[in-house]
């Protein structure tokens, strides 16, 4: 089963993402910040990482950088969930090694479409 790691400090958004992904048949691991995300990613290989940017403890950009430094996550798709409409965060995310992004607010359908686009 395809396993996705969802990292967001907002409970409601994380719940929405997790619920939506599970409904679509994905196996989902949750984390509330970058530190927890990194730890869970290390604990078990996932096929896709979705991460928020602004989080306490460790932000999403740092998480992307840390993940990319791991051999097992060298090519794993990592999507950044950002509310930033500007290009700053996108560029920052990509410089850190993110695959792409999904701009908040997004609907469950948009989320699934994006995930499918990455995972095929």
């Amino acid at each position: 089963m395809t396993k996705i790691l969802a990292v967001d400090d907002s409970n409601s958004l994380r719940q929405m993402v997790v619920f939506t992904l599970k409904q679509s048949g994905y196996d989902v691991v949750e984390a509330r910040n970058g530190t927890e995300g990194l730890q869970k990613a290390k604990a078990g290989q996932v096929d896709l990482v979705l991460t928020d940017v602004n989080m306490p403890e460790m932000d999403g950009i740092t998480l992307v950088r840390e993940l990319r430094a791991l051999p097992s996550y060298k090519f794993t798709p990592i999507l950044v969930l950002t509310t930033e409409a500007g290009t700053d965060k996108k560029q920052e995310g990509r410089a850190a090694g993110a695959t792409g992004w999904l701009v908040k607010p997004f609907s469950p359908d948009q989320l699934i479409a994006t995930v499918k686009r990455v995972l095929g």
């Binding site: 409601s12 929405m16 679509s24 990319r68 060298k74 794993t76 509310t83 090694g97 607010p105 997004f106």
Partner: protein, 698 residues
């Protein structure tokens, strides 16, 4: 697939209110160089904006965006955090809160105020040092989005895609991009392999291929560019209408083969930022109100699940024993049955404790509103105030917590309005200009104690007395103790405020405060020293529905004494009983003399000289600092009892706080210890006259 996002709205609202509380409390203690707090405030605003957009609260998202931008500028050091900005941000917090409350409860929103604050934020953004581009971003991006209509270009597109060798390092797979294009319509893909090195030089982690795609679809350039958005800058990309391209363009094809095809437009220039600012349709039924949810630590839930597991094991064990017993009794079975029942009792008790603890919340939920209140009051009253909070983690029942909040607000308001003096008065009195209000909570016995203290003027006894006489609450010239005078402020219709200010004179008097506290089974006491300040001490039960009780027997009836009021139980030592003229009997317990109360008389169930005093048992109880020794006929045992109100089923009876149903189905009345003690004062004469005879006889 359609997912009903309304199910997450409750969580969104809860976390947003929490976020607003965080913003508020951090703003109140914010200093200009506290980047960590500014970061945390920004994150809270950011989360609210993100969630609001997702869950269909467009107005909230829009409003919060301005707030977020201000904070972002402060975070980036482009804007100084001035007191004016803090005030504006606090007002914004209020606005967002009122918007969310209005959305949740379906109440009307003060749009004029929201609009005014919104304008203030706009003005602030424009006047500030921050760059204005970001502030307009939101509006612009949404406008862009709506104006972006499908173009008239038809027939199809030719796309040349030459990724950089390290494109896969970002997790992007060119194959997926091609699959995404396929969704628009039929594609014809030519893969160019000229860039492939010799096998020895081939690095499997790199991409040496290039693609030419002919897409026959009725789509726009923008939507194609969007597919390649994530690899913008990591590839060379040409998108041109098929109509402008003919397959007979050999020179270009050869360029492509050599990977030399540099499109006239620079790489990525065709790719625009496409902020997806699609509006999520608002959910139809947002007005679901507060369903009264509670946030519970997962540890508590785990413990609960564990406990239920134990209960199931015990149940199956008892079930098996039941079957065995059916086929004939033997001693072993009975023993096992008793053991099982003991286990069941343990399980039930632990389960009950666990369930009760779910309802327990830290009092900080009530305390958290005060920093803001003090901040606002200090501005509106021209007083300098400091708030001290201690014991915020003290837990109490959610129901009690909710009901105590209003009385607390009232008491804190009073402390500031009537207690704390203006700075000049304070300085003249030799006190620091800044007045302190201290809220403290702690557990004592089975109670929670909340103290509201101030270092203000204290209660003015002469004025209180004069007012009370004027209002006809006490007859003129009557001598009252300090305590009784202080108590007068709790009388209905009592108010000493010189003028009806914004704070007092709301029609809620101290009598209501006391009534509310009493309704919770609590009490309130005042300690005051003129010129030095006052303390209001509230005592509350931890929970309202279950308590530990000691079963006693008086005149063949069972009663329950709350275990928390019992100090000890003992056999009467004849030589410790003393008769005090005019004050009934006292019992000498170590070095203390305690009044003796005969329960048979007090409860009106005197059945005569059934037992000698020396054969009786004494239960020493304590409440509100007073002790008493209750003479009971027998001690029966301890158990937890579920409290049923007498008022709802019968009527209020002095000396009783309720009733409960025992295991055998009989009703036992629960004694109200403080009620019993005050009852005894009225009955003292009677008690003494009956019992003195008996003591003498004994």
């Amino acid at each position: 697939m359609s997912i009903d996002i309304s199910q997450f709205i409750q969580t969104f609202l809860e976390e947003s209110f929490e976020g607003l509380d965080t913003m508020e409390s951090l703003l109140l203690t914010l200093s200009a160089d506290d980047s960590e707090s500014i970061d945390a405030i920004f994150r809270a605003a950011h989360s609210i904006k993100g969630g609001a957009g997702t869950f269909g609260f467009g107005e909230v998202a829009h409003f919060t965006h301005g707030v977020e931008t201000l904070l972002d500028e402060a975070r980036a050091g482009r804007r100084l955090v001035s007191p004016e900005m803090v005030t504006l941000l606090l007002a914004s917090v209020d606005c967002v809160r009122s918007m969310l409350v209005a959305a949740r409860d379906g109440t009307t929103l003060d749009r004029a105020r929201v609009a005014a604050i919104g304008r203030d934020i706009e003005t602030s953004l424009k006047s500030g040092v921050g760059d204005q581009a970001t502030s307009d971003q939101f509006a612009k991006s949404s406008a862009e989005n709506t104006s972006r209509q499908p173009s008239a270009e038809r027939n199809g597109w030719r796309i040349v895609f030459i990724p950089e060798v390290n494109v896969m390092r970002s997790g992007n797979d060119p194959l997926r991009l091609l699959q995404a294009l396929e969704e628009f319509g039929e594609i014809k893909v030519t893969c160019h392999t000229a860039g492939l090195p010799s096998f020895d030089d081939l690095n499997p982690e790199e991409c040496y291929l290039a693609w030419e795609i002919l897409l026959e679809a009725d789509t726009t350039r923008d939507s194609i560019a969007e597919v390649f958005e994530w690899v913008d800058g990591q590839c060379e990309l040409t998108i041109e209408p098929l109509s402008e391209f003919t397959e007979t363009m050999p020179q270009e094809n050869s360029k492509l083969h050599a990977h030399l095809d540099v499109p006239e437009e620079g790489p990525g220039s065709t790719i625009q930022d496409s902020a997806i600012v699609e509006k999520v349709a608002p959910t139809a039924n947002r007005n679901r109100g507060d369903s009264g949810s509670i946030r519970v630590n997962t540890d508590k839930i785990d413990a609960l699940i564990n406990m239920v597991g134990e209960l199931v094991i015990t149940q199956s064990m008892l079930g098996q024993l039941g079957l065995k017993l059916q086929s004939g009794t033997n001693e072993q079975c009975i023993e096992g049955l008793l053991e099982g029942l003991a286990q069941l009792e343990r399980n039930t008790r632990e389960l009950q404790e666990n369930v009760m603890s779910i309802r327990m919340l830290p009092i900080s939920f009530a305390f958290n509103r005060f920093p803001r209140m003090i901040h606002d009051l200090s501005e509106s009253l021209g007083k300098q105030l400091k708030l001290k909070l201690t014991g915020e983690q003290t837990e109490l029942d959610k129901n009690v917590l909710e009901k105590i909040t209003d009385p607390l607000v009232h008491l804190v308001r009073n402390a500031v309005d009537h207690g704390i003096e203006t700075p000049d008065v304070r300085v003249t009195a030799g006190k620091p200009a800044v007045g302190t209000v201290h809220l403290n909570a702690y557990h004592k016995g089975g109670n929670i104690v909340i103290e509201i203290s101030d270092d203000g003027a204290g209660l003015n006894k002469a004025r209180i007395l004069a007012k009370a006489v004027e209002r006809g609450l006490v007859p003129a010239g009557q001598a009252l103790t300090d305590e009784q005078i202080n108590d007068l402020i709790f009388a209905a219709g009592f108010s000493t405020a010189d003028a009806v200010s914004d704070l007092s004179g709301r029609g809620v008097g101290m009598d209501v405060v006391r009534r509310n506290i009493k309704a919770l089974g609590g009490s309130v006491e005042i300690l005051s020293r003129e010129g030095h300040g006052s303390s209001f001490i509230i005592r509350l039960p931890l929970t309202l529905s279950i308590m530990d009780g000691q079963l006693i027997e008086v005149a063949n009836q069972s009663y329950v004494i709350p275990l928390i009021s019992i100090v000890e139980s003992l056999q009467v030592q004849q030589d410790s009983v003393k008769s005090v003229a005019g004050r009934g009997m006292v019992y000498r317990l170590r070095d203390e003399y305690i009044p003796v109360l005969f329960m048979q008389e007090l409860l009106g169930t005197y059945i005569g000289n059934s037992k000698q005093l020396t054969d009786s048992l004494l239960v020493v109880v304590e409440t509100e600092g007073q002790r008493a020794a209750l003479v009971v006929d027998d001690l029966l045992g301890q158990q937890q009892v579920v409290i049923k109100a007498l008022e709802t089923n019968f009527k209020k009876v002095a000396g009783l706080s309720g009733a409960t149903i025992l295991g055998d189905g009989t009703v036992a009345l629960i004694l109200d210890v403080s009620g019993i003690i005050s009852l005894s004062r009225h009955n003292l004469g009677l008690t003494r006259s009956i019992r003195t005879e008996e003591i003498k006889a004994a």
